[in-house]
Amino acid sequence: MSAPTAAPAADDVTSPQRVTGTALGALVVLGLAAATRFLQSAVPELTAGTAFGGFAEAVEYPVYAIILGFAANALLSGANVRDRLAGAFKTELFIKTGLVLLGSTVLFSVIVSAAGPAIVQALLVVTTVFGFTWWLGGRLGLDDRLRALLSSAVSICGVSAAIAAAGAVEAKREQLVYTAGLVILFAVPSIFLLPFLVERLGLSAEVAGAWIGGNIDTTAAVVASGAIVGEGALQIATIVKSAQNVLMGVVAVALTAWFAFKVDRSAAVDKPSLRTLWDRFPKFVLGFLVASVVATVAATSAPEASAEGLATARALRDWFLIAVFTSIGLEFRLGSLKDAGIRPVGVFAAATVVNLLVGLVLAVLLFGGFSLDGV
């Protein structure tokens, strides 16, 4: 008589329920992406010649995708099935893959030309905003660990930077949840606010991209906002954001050292090392660079033969990015913000304003004379 086998745990990723839920969730994401693609072309056609026509022409796919994501979130949450499908809402995987494919649409010469000012901007923005947030958090009496999370999140790249900092300083889970909630709360409106301000201020695509890339906290929101402004802004925003993301490893190492040797002299904390730097390095940036090199070589050595393939890669990029924006809408939760308290919100808000102003000044100074046409 064979021994009875235990039923798989409900949270086991290979359990039938999880697999079915994830598969259905993937269909939801795919369906919403298809609906976005449809609206992207149908709405301008249907409204051409009407008073709404001009506005419809300017609405880019991130807008439709996020709105559809929010709507689906409300429907699925109301039906109490959202969590069962959430395994497919892979925002991080979609954005990383989309960014690798985005590399194929950026000439390597653009990356080389923009890298210098992008790195300088990233260093200055991260230093200034991290320092301001750390100082203000201290003045308002926030816990040192929460200060580290907020400073990293607002100055570098949102939740991942907060995660890296949380590991470095041994933060509490609740502090990480607060920070993640604040990042989303401020990032989503920024997607639409910055393109609006770009138009009001009459910024060039290059300066707009640099401002967006150096300002908005999450990579997905940077891509969404850049896409709303235009292709040129999207390219520059991606390069600037990538430069900023790379600094996350450096900051994680610095925080580890600070907390280990100054704040919390615990022998259990790992000493910072090059391994830590490599662990925190955003590997998909390498994919972005390789894709750019491959596409540049293909486009310059065999332009006719590679044109169709590069167009397909661009379409794939758009689908992955649309999936990102719908997943942002699907995953959004207000609940995590309820326990945040007012002081961290105040610090984050003030830091965001400083980031906006510092980022704008640096974008104008470093990218004011930069032109994609000349590259």
């Binding site: 693609r37 959430a86 809402f89 991080e92 995987l93 954005i95 990383k96 893959t97 690798v100 494919l101 590399g103 790249c157 939740v159 991942s160 930077a161 995660i163 890296a164 949380a166 590991g167 300083v169 041994e170 933060a171 889970r173 502090q175 990480l176 993640a180 909630g181 990042v183 989303i184 990032a187 999450t218 990579t219 997905a220 929101a221 993301n245 904390v269 790992d270 662990d279 925190r280 955003p282 590997k283 998909f284 940036v285 994919g287 894709a291 491959v294 169709e308 393939g309 590069l310 167009a311 397909t312 890669a313 794939l316 689908w319 990102v324 942002i328 995953e331 959004f332 939760r333 995590s336």
Partner: protein, 59 residues
């Protein structure tokens, strides 16, 4: 000490690097999400360039 490490399960926001929250990350026994995305993206690009993904297939 490892049990006190915060683990992220909150959704959204998108970002680079690992999703490990521990201060002492274990050696990964499987590919990280960063590498999965990199391999997936470059594979799709390669398939598109060699024509394995037909032009009209991706609207």
């Amino acid at each position: 000490m490892a049990s006190q490490r915060p683990r992220l399960t909150t959704p959204a926001a998108v970002e680079p690097a690992t999703t490990e929250v521990t201060a002492t990350p274990r050696r990964a026994r499987r590919l990280s999400e960063d590498w999965v995305a990199t391999i997936l993206g470059l594979s799709l690009l390669a398939l598109a360039l060699v024509g394995a993904i037909p032009a009209g297939l991706v609207p």
